[in-house]
């Protein structure tokens, strides 16, 4: 039934319709552009927020205090041992001296350090970072079990801001969940909007559909050009939206980085290809779904 001849007809038909219904095409495309831009911006924001939250979570540190002062070589050995534990990403040795310097910096002006500096009550330590913040608990358990290598003093119980870590983790998970939920809701909303728009463009041509039926055209013959039109509108709209968003994102990221160099943002290159195609696919899908749903109603009363 779907011969080449038909496809030729449908293609010509679609382009003619788009051209002759300029106003409606414009309305449909601009609605797609605007609504997918909204959706896209939101997705970009969520992706970044998620990256930030993960970044925060990744900063959770476990500190292993040596029970006694340790030699450089001993520290290195201990460090290697810790690095072997699964889930550990990074281990840094912090000497008592360094630790004191850090403390001084932090409490500058609040404490008179002259007394303390002489005795230095701070111990040597290892700072452990993990790959996956979810694994902190596991890593700590293993750290507790670990035997220090020969010639190296043992460790105190591993310390980490348990409450803080929990909170950050909680937060990062909430961001992810909320982001996904809201993205789903927003996608649905955008689908409603695009569907409404396409429905109205078809509604404006309901008489034509009726006439085609009267002349003996089958429903699929009438439907195909409308579907193709929906797809075309969706695709053009989403391609424009993608372009707009990428430019906007590039601009924003550049400025944001200058203003907040300490906040991690995903670079344009990191999302470009992927994002572009996802959005175009969405536009296409929404256009198709919108016209499929809408035309059904008008084809009903044969």
């Amino acid at each position: 039934m779907l011969s080449l001849r038909n496809w030729e007809f449908f293609l010509r038909e679609t382009f003619i319709n788009v051209r002759r219904n300029g106003l409606m095409s414009l309305a449909a495309v601009s609605t797609v552009v605007v609504s997918l831009s909204i959706l896209g911006s939101f997705l970009l924001a969520v992706v970044n927020l998620d990256a930030m939250a993960s970044d925060m979570a990744r900063k959770v540190e476990i500190t292993m205090f040596f029970l006694e002062p340790v030699s450089k070589i001993g520290a290195q050995r201990a460090r290697k041992r810790v690095l072997e534990i699964r889930g550990v990403k990074e281990v840094q040795f912090v000497s008592r001296r360094e630790a004191l310097n850090r403390l001084k910096e932090r409490l500058e002006g609040q404490i008179d350090f002259s007394d303390i500096e002489k005795s230095n009550p701070l111990p040597d330590s290892l700072e452990v970072r993990v790959f996956d913040p979810d694994q902190v608990g596991n890593v700590v358990t293993q750290l507790k079990r670990m035997q220090p290598p020969a010639g190296v003093p043992g460790f105190d119980t591993p310390q980490y801001g348990e409450k803080y870590a929990q909170r950050i983790l909680h937060f990062s998970r909430a961001v992810k969940a909320l982001g996904m939920f809201t993205a789903a809701l927003l996608s649905l909303s955008i689908l409603v909007i695009i569907n409404n728009t396409i429905r109205l463009t078809i509604f404006a041509r309901r008489r034509e559909i009726r006439i085609m039926q009267l002349v003996g055209a089958t429903n699929w013959f009438i439907r195909v050009p409308f579907l193709m039109e929906g797809i075309l509108h969706g695709f053009i709209g989403s391609a424009l939206a993608s372009l707009l968003l990428l430019c906007g994102y590039y601009y924003t990221v550049t400025h944001f980085r200058m203003a907040f160099p300490f906040v991690p943002v995903i670079p344009v290159e990191g999302i470009m290809g992927h994002f572009f195609w996802v959005l175009c696919f969405m536009g296409l899908l929404f256009g198709y779904a919108g016209s499929l749903i809408s035309i059904r109603k008008f084809l009903a009363n044969l």
Partner: protein, 236 residues
């Protein structure tokens, strides 16, 4: 062969537009449906292409009771029928050429056939010079002739013409009826609902008069019974 058996049509709750109409139209016949305005002529034609569904009775077209036709088989029926609609029903976004071509495209005709038949049909209704105009850019009579061209372009087995000359001057009307007559001679069944007394009287074909939804007269002859008597044609 078209046959209605005790057909009644009721539009949502109103009085019946047709009441127990039984009519038999043979294959290859040329028949006029006449009658005062609003009495059911168009409704009768709509029964045949299933624009209207009877509340009661059977409508048999080409041996099949189409009142029981499934929705997906309706296009097949309509492709065998060319209709000149009383209100033309032209596609406003398509040119005259495209409107006529659409009837062929809908039945899956190939390019070759389309490029052969469309100009021929436009030629028959003298509209070749308006091929690239849109319906809104045409006079009433021109629109009517586009509708006629579309109805005959694919040589349908049945032609239903609802008031095909309402917007045409007497001379052009006569030409159009001659055209329908020619198509009839080539084998199509032609049913014309009309108010045009000149034409009905001139053609001396079978005339069915519908009044108040019922067939009140069915005989070869003129628009009015008096004319039929004057012509000396007796009912069969």
């Amino acid at each position: 062969m078209i046959q209605t058996l005790d057909v009644s049509v009721v539009y949502n709750g109103g009085p019946p537009a047709l009441r127990d109409v039984s009519l038999r139209i043979e294959k290859g016949e040329f028949i006029f449906i006449v009658g005062p305005t609003g009495m059911g002529k168009s409704t009768f034609l709509k029964l045949i292409n299933r624009e209207a569904v009877p509340a009661k009775g059977k409508v048999i077209v080409a041996g099949r009771d189409i009142t029981k036709l499934e929705a997906r088989h309706i296009p097949e029926l309509r492709r065998q029928i060319g209709v000149v609609f009383q209100d033309f029903q032209l596609l406003p976004q398509k040119t005259v050429w495209e409107n006529v071509a659409f009837a062929l495209q809908a039945i899956g005709a190939d390019r070759h056939r389309i490029y052969r038949e469309v100009p021929r049909a436009l030629e028959l209704v003298s509209l070749t010079h308006k091929a690239n105009s849109y319906p809104q850019e045409l006079s009433g009579g021109e629109q009517q002739r586009v509708s006629i061209a579309r109805a005959i372009v694919n040589n349908p087995a049945i032609v239903l013409a609802d008031e095909p000359t309402g917007n045409l001057d007497p001379e052009t009307s006569w030409d159009i009826v001659q055209l329908l007559s020619k198509i009839n001679i080539r084998g199509s069944t032609v049913v014309v609902a009309t108010h045009d007394k000149y034409i009905v009287d001139g053609m001396k074909k079978r005339v069915v008069a519908i009044e108040n939804g019922q067939v009140v007269r069915d005989e070869p002859g003129g628009y009015h019974h008096a004319v039929t008597e004057e012509l000396g044609i007796l009912p069969p």
